[in-house]
């Protein structure tokens, strides 16, 4: 008897995790308070460690932590070597080397001030936590499930992605076979030239595979249900994306913010509508579509609420607030001054934001994997499935 693991549909919708993470990302973008950023990072890691599955992509958060550390280290290094000098608190001084004229008059080294360093670390920490948000979404959301939520117009493109995702493990296996064969013959298996000699047979193999795959797909009627493109969908999509680009251009280069945001929103909505229209030519149904439940809305809401809280407080004018309200909300604490140096403060709304980051823990459970008795007896199909999905063979 063979037992198989299957991903249950009880897990949170991948797009809900993404909405949550993007909301937190927007919130993170609106502050440079290192205390708040550190707390958000801790909460993110906490949620990921408790809610991630055992899938390979769930291990990505470590890579993002390393990347964040690298970003901070690189920013600090450049600040020390070629940073602009601000502030008076000199920590130490490096010998100063002026570069020739063609290098825009840059001076290497010089005195390193605490103010400039604090500014750089705060700013880099914000970017590192932003990266961690993306890492959390990558670790928590199941990419295969997310592919199911692609718009119908991208059906063929998603089919190509699915083919790529499922052929990739076979290619690795095929490459290992070729390498093994070369090793048994006593040929050298290192260096660029031998890599080339592995690539060629694997490539020939994979092209053969694509031919038989195409024949298989055709035999099963793939692409027989699609009609001609819907008239006007391309025009709509192109003009909308042009409008959105124009909106972005205006937003970045002028003061007409309302016009710019209007163009952006109309462009994005138009493109979405165009995609729907373009998808109409397909007469296909979806298999095991992931439902969007109340819980998904709640988790996305946590992220968006965190963004709203930070942006609202950041947008308040301190002069309009009464003294008690000012002390309670404290908009300036979001951007603690680094020149003159001050110690960052935490306020009550910031703790609320940290609470919102950790809130999905309360409404989601540990991602369970159902173990079912396999109904498939064909070992060929099973051998092609990812190893993580097959549990026990006895």
């Amino acid at each position: 008897m063979v037992l198989e693991r299957t991903q249950t549909l009880k897990s949170l919708h991948p797009l809900a995790w993404w909405a949550w993470a993007i909301g937190i990302g927007i919130a993170v973008n609106g502050t440079t308070n290192p205390l708040l950023l550190a707390l958000i990072a801790l909460a993110l890691v906490w949620v990921v460690l408790l809610r991630r599955s055992s899938a390979p992509w769930a291990r990505s958060v470590r890579a993002y932590l390393i990347l964040g550390g690298f970003v901070i280290a690189m920013r600090v290094f450049f600040q020390i070597v070629i940073g602009a000098k601000t502030g008076d608190t000199i920590l130490f001084a490096l010998p100063e080397i002026p570069l020739p004229d063609w290098a825009a008059g840059i001076r290497l080294g010089g005195p390193i001030t605490a103010e400039a360093l604090a500014y750089t670390i705060n700013d880099a920490l914000r970017l590192a936590v932003l990266l961690l948000c993306l890492g959390a979404a990558n670790a928590l959301a199941n990419p295969r499930q997310a592919l199911r939520s692609m718009p119908a117009a991208l059906y063929e493109a998603s089919a190509a992605v699915v083919v790529a995702l499922s052929v990739a493990p076979q290619l690795i296996e095929s490459g290992q076979r070729v390498l093994k064969a070369r090793r048994t013959r006593g040929t050298n298996t290192k260096g660029l030239r031998s890599l080339a000699s592995v690539i060629l047979p694997v490539m020939a193999d994979s092209i053969e595979r694509s031919m038989s795959l195409a024949a298989g797909m055709e035999a099963r009627g793939f692409a027989r249900t699609r009609g001609l493109p819907v008239r006007g969908s391309l025009t709509l999509m192109i003009s909308s994306s042009m409008l959105a680009t124009l909106g972005a251009f205006v937003l970045l280069s002028t003061d007409f913010r309302l016009l710019a945001v209007g163009c952006l929103v109309i462009g994005l909505v138009g493109a979405g509508f165009g995609l729907r229209l373009a998808g109409k030519r397909l007469a296909v149904t979806r298999y095991r579509q992931q439902p969007w439940r109340v819980r998904d809305t709640v988790v996305s809401g946590f992220g968006l609420l965190a963004a709203v809280v930070v942006l609202t407080i950041g947008g308040l004018n301190p002069n309009d607030l009464s003294a008690s309200l000012l002390q309670w909300l404290d908009p300036q604490a979001l951007f603690p001054s680094t020149d003159p140096l001050t110690w960052p403060q935490l306020s009550v709304p910031m703790l609320l934001v940290v609470g919102l980051v950790a809130a999905p823990l309360a409404v989601t459970g540990k991602d369970r994997i159902d173990v079912t008795e396999s109904v498939r007896n064909d070992t060929m199909v099973r051998s092609l499935r990812p190893k993580a999905e097959i549990l026990v063979t006895s």
Partner: protein, 269 residues
């Protein structure tokens, strides 16, 4: 223009060209944003990347929907998937070793054989799939997809040549495109990479020329080695594998074309 898998009517080709042209315009704008960011607009340089990270997926969806739907027959789609899988497997092998990037030579050769639209689709889909596998989804992904797509697109538009001349042409295109890819990506993510407070940072108040000068210096100081490594890898792999791989890809294109009408004729009755 080199042949596409299967046969494509002229009206379709026009639509595809229109979509590709608009992608080039949008892509160029979104990569060149540091040149037109005004200090008065109230946007911080880091935020501009996010604005375009919102627009670019829409453009990508438009172009990919147009390229794949109805235009590509099943053989081309399967070939797209398998070649993208190949790139996906090769990419983690090359990660972390100074610019030793193994995906571009394949995108270039496939773009050369199967034409610009296949090249674009392959570049974009390879980067997307490998981001899914290595969990590298982020605001940089649409930028990477578009620029890798361009690498494949222009490979399909290279002039006619054969034999040694073709190999030399492709290898030099491989070097050039490796630098272009690196420069475009670095330019779009410049404020991300280095922050705002150094002498090599992007300065919205300065003129575009001053900013370009600063960027060149920043690029020389940080990623020249990576770009050079990528360029040399591309050229070496194309020189080494170009002839047999081109033969392999062309043979399959011929096979697909021969089989295509026969199958269509037998099923349409």
């Amino acid at each position: 223009m080199t042949s596409y898998l299967g046969t494509v009517p002229d009206s379709h080709r026009q639509r595809v060209s229109l979509a590709l042209a608009s992608t080039i315009i949008v892509g160029a704008t979104s990569f060149a944003w540091p040149l037109f960011l005004a200090p008065s607009s109230g946007m911080k340089p880091e935020q501009a990347v996010w604005v375009f990270a919102l627009v670019l997926p829409m453009v990508l969806a438009t172009i990919l929907a147009e390229l794949t739907s109805g235009r590509m027959d099943v053989k081309a789609l399967a070939m797209l998937g398998v070649l993208a899988a190949f790139g996906t497997v090769l990419r983690p092998l090359s990660a972390g070793t100074a610019g030793f990037e193994l995906i571009f030579f394949l995108i270039i050769l496939a773009g050369r054989v199967y034409g610009p639209s296949f090249g674009f689709a392959l570049g974009a889909i390879t980067l997307f799939t490998s981001a899914l596998i290595t969990s590298g989804v982020g605001p940089w992904l649409p930028y990477q997809m578009i620029s890798a797509g361009f690498v494949g697109l222009f490979a399909g538009l290279l002039p006619k040549a054969s034999g040694k001349a073709e190999l030399a042409l492709l290898a030099s295109y491989g070097m050039l495109s490796a630098f272009a890819y690196g420069w475009f990506m670095d330019f779009a993510f410049w404020p991300f990479g280095i922050g705002n407070s150094t002498q090599l940072s992007f300065d919205p108040a300065a003129s575009p020329l001053t900013n370009l000068h600063r960027f060149v210096l920043y690029n020389l100081a940080t990623s020249m080695g990576w770009n050079l490594g990528r360029a040399l890898t591309n050229a070496a792999l194309i020189a080494l594998l170009g002839t047999p791989l081109l033969r392999l890809l062309r043979r399959s294109a011929r096979k697909a074309q021969l089989a295509g009408p026969a199958i269509a004729a037998s099923t349409s009755e």
